[in-house]
Symmetry: C4
Subunit: 385 residues, 4 copies
C-alpha cells in the first residue's frame, strides 16, 4: 500500500516532466547535445582527436533541425497557413538554423568558426516559450520609461567617466588613460559587475566610485520596478483571456451573472494535466476546488469509482469546512482543470451568495450520497459477518 503510494507520489512529482511532452523534450535534448558539441568543438585540446565524432554529432543535429523545419513548412502549407508561417519570426529561426553553417562552410570559412553559427540554434528555445512574446510586449509597452531610465544610465555613465578620467588619469595611465577606458570602468561599476580590472586609487576616485555604485542600485531599482509592474499586468491580462475561453465551457458558470463571471475568471488558475495523474490524494489537506474544463477524472469512492466529465466540479468539500481530502481523484485522459482557491472562494461567495448556494447544494447532495453508500456498504459487510 505504502509502496504503491510512494510510486504514485513519484508519478505526481514527475508529472510536470511528462506533461512537458515527449517531442518537446527530444527537441531540447537534441538542442542541448548540439550546443554542447559545438562548444566542445572550439576547445583547442579536444579538437584533434575528437573532431570526427563531434562533427558527426553536429551534422546529425543539423539534419534533425532540417527535417523539423521541413515538417514545419509542410504542415503550414497543407493547413493553408503558408502565408502566416512565412511571415512569422519562426521561419527565420528555422532557416538560419539550417543554412547558416553550410553556407559558411561553402564560403570557405574554417570549420571551427563556421560551426559557431550553430549557436544560433539556441533561438529555437523561443519556439518553445510562448511567454517570450509577452516579455517582448512588456519592452514594447514600457519603451518610453525604459528609454528614460536608459538615458539616465547614459548620463551617469558619461559624466562619471569624464570625471573619473580627470581624477585618475595621472595616477593610473593604464586603466584610466582615456575616456573609453573610463567608460568601461563606469559601465562595469554602474551595473555592479565589478571585474576589478580598473579600480580608482585616489580618495576622490573612491568617493566618485561610491556614488556611481549607489546610482547603480537606483538604476537597478527603477528598471526592475518598470519591468516587474508591467510584466505582472501583462501576465494577469493574458491569464484572464486564456481562462475566459475555458470558463465559457463550464455550464456551472453560465448561470452566474456577468460581473460574477468576470470576477471568478480573474481568480481561477488553469492546470493542464496528462492522463493517469493524481489530482487529489486522500488524507492530504485541501484548500481548493477544481472545475473540469476539458477531459475527465475518476473519483475513487468505494465501492464503485465515479467518473466526472467536463463541465462538472470536484474537491468542493475542502471549501465547505472539511479540509482533509476524502478520496483520490485521478485523470483518465489529458484534462484541463480550473482551480478555485479557498481564499478566493470566500471573497467570491461573500459578494455572490448564489455561487456559494449552488456549490453548497451540490456538495450536500454528494455528501449524503457518500454517506448512503458507506451506510449501505457497512450494512452489506455487516450482514455476512
Amino acid at each position: 500500500m505504502i509502496f504503491k503510494d510512494a510510486l504514485s507520489n513519484i508519478a505526481h512529482y514527475t508529472a510536470p516532466l511528462r506533461r512537458f511532452g515527449a517531442s518537446s523534450l527530444a527537441r531540447i535534448v537534441i538542442l542541448g547535445v548540439g550546443l554542447a558539441a559545438m562548444a566542445a568543438y572550439t576547445m583547442p585540446d579536444l579538437q584533434r582527436a575528437d573532431r570526427p565524432w563531434l562533427e558527426g554529432c553536429l551534422w546529425c543535429c543539423l539534419g534533425y533541425f532540417a527535417i523539423e523545419s521541413a515538417i514545419h513548412a509542410r504542415t503550414a502549407f497543407r493547413a493553408g497557413a503558408a502565408r502566416r508561417y512565412l511571415l512569422s519570426p519562426s521561419v527565420l529561426i528555422d532557416l538560419v538554423g539550417v543554412f547558416a553553417v553550410p553556407i559558411a562552410l561553402l564560403c570557405g570559412v574554417s570549420p571551427p568558426t563556421a560551426w559557431l553559427f550553430a549557436s544560433l540554434w539556441v533561438l529555437k528555445l523561443a519556439q518553445n516559450s510562448p511567454a517570450l512574446a509577452q516579455i517582448g510586449r512588456v519592452f514594447q509597452i514600457e519603451a518610453k520609461p525604459l528609454a528614460s531610465v536608459f538615458a539616465l544610465f547614459l548620463m551617469i555613465l558619461f559624466l562619471s567617466s569624464a570625471a573619473m578620467y580627470v581624477i585618475e588619469r595621472d595616477a593610473q595611465p593604464g586603466p584610466f588613460g582615456s575616456l573609453p577606458a573610463a567608460l568601461w570602468w563606469a559601465v562595469v561599476t554602474l551595473t555592479t559587475t565589478g571585474y576589478g580590472d580598473a579600480i580608482p586609487l585616489t580618495h576622490l576616485g573612491h568617493l566618485l566610485g561610491a556614488v556611481v555604485m549607489i546610482c547603480g542600485i537606483a538604476t537597478f531599482g527603477l528598471s526592475t520596478g518598470i519591468l516587474a509592474t508591467c510584466f505582472a499586468a501583462e501576465n494577469r491580462r493574458r491569464n484572464f483571456i486564456q481562462t475566459w475561453d475555458l470558463v465559457s465551457k463550464v455550464p456551472f458558470f453560465q448561470s452566474l451573472d456577468p460581473s460574477a463571471i468576470t470576477e471568478i475568471t480573474h481568480m481561477l488558475r488553469r492546470l493542464e494535466v496528462p492522463e493517469r495523474t493524481a489530482i487529489i490524494r486522500r488524507g492530504k489537506i485541501g484548500d481548493c476546488m477544481y472545475f473540469i474544463a476539458a477531459g475527465e477524472v475518476q473519483v475513487d469512492i468505494k465501492p464503485v469509482p465515479v467518473r466526472l466529465a467536463a463541465g462538472t466540479f470536484f474537491g468542493e468539500l475542502a471549501l465547505l469546512g472539511d479540509s482533509v481530502r476524502t478520496a483520490n481523484v485521478t485523470t483518465t485522459m489529458p484534462s484541463t482543470l480550473l482551480i478555485l482557491d479557498l481564499a478566493d472562494f470566500h471573497s467570491l461567495s461573500a459578494n455572490h451568495p448564489d455561487l456559494k448556494r449552488a456549490i453548497d447544494a451540490e456538495g450536500e447532495r454528494r455528501m449524503s450520497e457518500n454517506q448512503q453508500r458507506r451506510e449501505r456498504q457497512r450494512l452489506g459487510s455487516a450482514a455476512p459477518s
Copy 2:
C-alpha cells in the same frame, strides 16, 4: 519602577526569541554546531590535533538527529499517520541525515570526505520553515514565465559568448580560447557577478560586455518581477486562509455580514504570543486594536486588573480617538491575537457602519466603567485622607 520597565522592555524585545520555542532553538544550535564542526574538520591545519574532539562532536550531532528521527517516526506511527509521514519529504531528510555518513564510512570513504555528507543536515532547516513550501509553490505556478526568462537568459548567454569568442580569441587565447571559456565569462557577466578572471580587452569586446551587463540588469528585473508578484499573491492567499480559521472563533465577527467578514479577514494580522508577554504598554502611542482568537490577556486597570478571554477585544480606544495607551495589557497564557490597524479600521467602518457602531458601543461602555472605577477609587482614597 524604571528598572522594572526596562526589564519588561527587554522581555518585550526578546519575546520573538522565546516565542521561537526551546526545542526549535536547541535543534538549530545543534545544527549550527554540527555544520561548524564539519566545516572545521576539512581544514588542513586543524585536522591533526583536533580530530578526536571534532569527530566526537559530529557523532554527538548525528546521535541527536538519529534520536530525533526516531521520535518523528514513532510519533507518526502512534498517531496512525505513518503513511503520510513516510510519503513526506521530511522522511528523506531524516534518513539522509542519519545514514549518509555511516554508509559512506562503511563503504571505505576517508573520514574527512565521508563527513562532508553531514552538510546535508542543512536540509533540516526546511523542516523549521513552513514558508519554504510557499516558495516552492511560487516556482511551480510561475514555471512558464520563469522558463521563458531562463530561455532568454540562455539565448543571450550563447549568442554573446559566441560573439565574444570570435572577438577576443586572438587577443586572449587564455580566458577566451574556447567557447566554454567564453560561456563562463558570459554567465559571470550576465549575473553581474564579475569575478574578473576573464575580461574583454578590445573595444568591440568592451561594447559587447556593456550590452551583456545591461541585459543582465533586465534579466534581474524580469525574474524579480515574476517572483515578487507571485510571492506576494501567495502570501496574501495563505494569510487569508490562516486568518479565516481564527476569525470564525471570534463571536464578534459572526454578527457582521459575509462581505464584511471577508474584507476584515484580508485586513487582520495574526500574532502568536507566549504567556506573560506585554502586548500594550501604558504611555505608548497606539494605532491598532486586538481581537483574542485564543488564550487570555490581563488588562492592568486599577484597582483590580481585568481578564479578557478568547473572543473579546481590547485596545479599541486607540481607534476611537484616544491614541495614548491607558493601561498595560499582558498575556496570561500562550495566545493568538488578531490585529486590526487604524487605517484598515477607518476603511472598514466607512463601508460597514455596523462594525464601528458595535465597537463604539463596547468602547463607550468600558470607558464609562473605567471612569466610574476611577471615580470610586478617588472617592475611596479621598474618604480616609
Copy 3:
C-alpha cells in the same frame, strides 16, 4: 502577395523607428557622433594623427547644438514663452552645451581636457525623455523613505568598516590599513560590486563580509521596493491624465456615466502611430479593439475600402467572439489610438452593460453590412462566370 506582406511586415516592425521622428533621430545620431569623437579624442594612441579630423567633427557638433539652441530660444521668444523657457532647466543644458568648451579653451585649458566638457552634451538626452521628470518626481515624493534606507546604508557602512578595520588591519596593512580604506571595501561589498582589490583574509573577516553582503541584498530590496512601487503609481497617474484628455475627444465615451468613463480611462492604452502604418493585419489573432482619438484609418474591405474618422472605433469583432482579424486596417495620417484589451473589456462590460450593448449594436451593424457586401460581391462575380 507574400512579398508585399513581408514588406508590410518590415514596415510594421520598423514603425517605432519611423515614429521616433526624423529630427529626434538626427539629434541623437549627432549626439552619439559628438560623444564618440570626444571619447576618441582622449585616447593617447589616436591623438596625433586624427586630431584635425576629430576636432572638426567636434566643432561641427558644437555648431549643430549652437544652432539648435538658437532655434529653441527664438521659438520661445516668438511664442511669447520667453520667461517659461528661460526658467526651464532646458536653458541650462543648452547654454552649458554651447559655451562650456569654448570658455574652457579661452581660459587656456589644453584642448583634450577642454573638450571633456563636451560630455555635458549627454544631458541633452533629458530633453528627449519626458519620463525623466517622472523619475525625478519619484525621488522627490519618496525622499523620506529613500533617505531612511540611505541612513541604514551609511550605518551598516560605518559600523562594518570600523569592525573590519580592527579585524584586518594587522593581517593586511595595505587594503585595510586605515578606516577610509575599509570604508572603500565596505561600499564595494555592500553594493555587491566586489572589485576584489580589498578582500578579508581572516575567518572573522569572512564572517563579517558575508553579513555585509547579505545586508547589501536587503538594501537592494528595500530601495527597489520604494522606487518600484512609487514609479508604478506615478506612471499610472500620468497615463490617466494623458488618456483622460483623449477620452474626452471620443463621442462614444461621452454617453457613458461618469464612473464608467473613469474606469475605462484607467484601462485604455494610448498609441501614437505615423501615417501609412498597419494597425491590424488580416489573419492575425486579435485581442483588443481601437478607438480613434485623432487622425483617420482605412479598413481594407472589398470591394471598397472604408475610412473611419476620429471618434469612431474598430477591431471590436475581436471582443465579440471573432478573434481572427478579417481585414487590414492602416492609418492614412498620423493618428492617436486608444486600445481596449479583451480582458479589460470583459471586466468593464460586466459592470457597465450599456457599454457592451452599444458596441454590440455597432458590431452587429457592421457585421451584417460586411455580410451583405460579400453577398453582393459573390452574386456580382457569380453572374458573369
Copy 4:
C-alpha cells in the same frame, strides 16, 4: 522680472533644503565632520602632523553630542516623559555616543583605536529618520518569509560549497582547500558580489558556479519581492494614518460621507512647507489642487492679494479644465498642505458627485470674482487713459 523669477526659482528648488531645518542640518554637518575626522585619524600617513587638529575636532564633536544628549534628557525630564525617554533606544544611542570613547581612553586603549568607537555616532542618523522604524517593522512582520528565504540561502550555500570543495580541492588547494574556504566562495558568488579571489577552474566547477549565480538571482528576487511588497503596504498604512489626522482639520471634507472621506484620505499626499515658499507659480501647467490643513497662503491676484487660512483650498481650477496656473501662491507661515491629483480627483468625483459639485461651486464663485475684479481693474485703468 525674469531675474526675480529666477531667484524665486532657486528659492523653489532649495526649499526642501531649508525645510530640512537649520538644527537638523547643523547636526548632520557636525556628524559628517566628526566621522570624517575619525576616519582621517586612522590614516597612517596623516597621523603624525595633524593629530592635534583632528583630536581637537573630535573632542568638539563629542562635546556637541554631550550637550545635545543633556538637552534631550533635560527636555524629557521637564516634560514628565522621563520614563518614556529612558526606555527609548534613543537613550542608548546618546549614551554610547558620549561615553564610549572616553571610557575606552580611560581603560588605556590607544587613542586611534579608542576613537574608532566614534563610528557609533553614525547611529544618530536613526534619530533623524522616522521611516527607519517602518523598515524595522517590515522585517518584524515579514520575519517568517524572510527566514525561509534565508534558510534557502543557507541550504544552497552549504550544499554548493560542499560540492565545490570536492570538485576543486585537488586543482586549487589554496582557495578551495577547506570547507570554510569554499563557503566563502559560495557566499561571495551567491550574493553576486564576485571578488574573484576564489574562482572555479574545472568544467564541473564552472557549471556549479553558474548554477549558484542563477540561484543568487532567484534569492535576490524573492527577498526583494518580500521587502518591496511589505514596505509598500506599510508605507500606505502609515501615510493613511498621518493624512487622516490632517483631513479631520479641513471642514470641507467633513461634509462628505464616511466612505468618501476614507477614499480621499488614501489619495491625498501631505506636503510640509516652510514660510515664504512658492506653491504654485503662474504660467506653469497644474495637475493638482491643494487643501490647507494648517498655516496660511497668499494668492497674488491683482489688484489685492487674497489670503487663505487653514481649512480652505486652492488650485482647483486646474482640475476643472483650466490647466495653466493663473496666479502665484505663496505660504505666509509654515504650512501643511494636502495635495489632490487630477487623476484621483476624476476617480473620486465619478463615485462621489457631491465632491465635484462642491468644488465646482467654489471654483465658479472664485472664477466670477476674478472676472469681476479684472473687469473692474480694466475699467479703472481704462478710465484715466
